[in-house]
């Protein structure tokens, strides 16, 4: 996260928001109901406290920045 954020800053952007994202457990359960046989496993995985406590383990880096 810090790498891409610093690149944005070096290119003339001011970071206004940055965070790690992950799918919700509820969404994974929906997929399970929709036929994804790994959906239940994913739901447990996304609901684990580890991912909630350590955001850097989540799947997506999301940044919002403003041009200076």
């Amino acid at each position: 996260m810090s790498e891409i954020a610093s690149k944005l800053e070096a290119c003339g952007f001011a970071i206004s928001q940055k965070k790690y994202l992950q799918p919700s457990a509820i969404n994974a359960l929906r997929q399970f109901r929709g036929g994804d046989r790994f959906g239940l496993l994913k739901a447990v995985y996304y609901a684990t406290g580890l991912l909630l406590l350590v955001p850097s383990l989540r799947v997506t880096i999301f940044i919002e920045a403003t041009k200076r």
């Binding site: 996260m1 891409i4 690149k7 944005l8 070096a10 290119c11 003339g12 952007f13 206004s16 928001q17 790690y20 994202l21 992950q22 799918p23 919700s24 969404n27 929906r30 997929q31 929709g34 994804d36 995985y45 580890l50 991912l51 850097s56 383990l57 989540r58 799947v59 997506t60 880096i61 999301f62 940044i63 919002e64 920045a65 403003t66 041009k67 200076r68």
Partner: protein, 176 residues
């Protein structure tokens, strides 16, 4: 129209995207929340055309929505929905827009597909955004739990470049 309703209403060529759109819902939701809701039209560029581009136009029909992609796969769908489509190879070509043109650029899950230096691409994106304008950027997290687990199991989380190179989903940064 809400995102889920729109996904469920997809038909024909777009129907095949239901699963991936649903799976990526968490990411799209954050992008939607970050798009300013204005009564006056704003100029918005979505780099890397996808069904989500069509949703943005549907959600904000009065916005001037532009998009670019390295193939013309989405060109007809964009024209039908009033989106300005341009073909552009970000690795080799400048963005086909004048300086300070856009209020908002959405640059999601594209940077990791490029072989060009990220700073060079970001500077070019900055050029077309007006001062005070926004960029919304997302990339996959190479340090995510699932990749760490795969590494622990002695496997590479990187895709096999012999088979993965080529559109639409060659993740360059994951391979470096």
């Amino acid at each position: 129209m809400k995102f889920d309703e729109w996904v469920n209403s997809l038909e024909g060529r777009l129907e095949g995207y239901k699963i991936s759109l649903t799976h990526e819902r968490f990411r799209f939701r954050h992008v939607i929340d970050s798009i300013p809701s204005c009564t006056s039209p704003i100029r918005l560029l979505d780099i890397g055309t996808s069904p989500f581009t069509l949703f943005i136009k549907r959600m904000y029909p009065h916005y001037e929505v532009s998009t670019l992609d390295f193939s013309n796969y989405w060109e007809d769908a964009c024209k039908e929905t009033g989106i300005k489509f341009r073909m552009c190879d970000l690795e080799r070509q400048p963005l086909p827009f004048e300086d300070d043109y856009f209020d908002l650029v959405i640059f999601n899950e594209v940077l990791e597909h490029l072989f060009a230096p990220p700073s060079r691409v970001l500077r070019e994106v900055r050029r077309v955004i007006r001062t005070g304008g926004k960029i919304i950027l997302s990339v996959p997290n190479i340090a995510a739990m699932r990749y760490r687990v795969v590494l622990l199991l002695g496997m590479s989380p990187l895709k096999d470049l012999d088979t993965a190179i080529g559109p639409p989903h060659d993740h360059v940064h994951e391979s470096q």
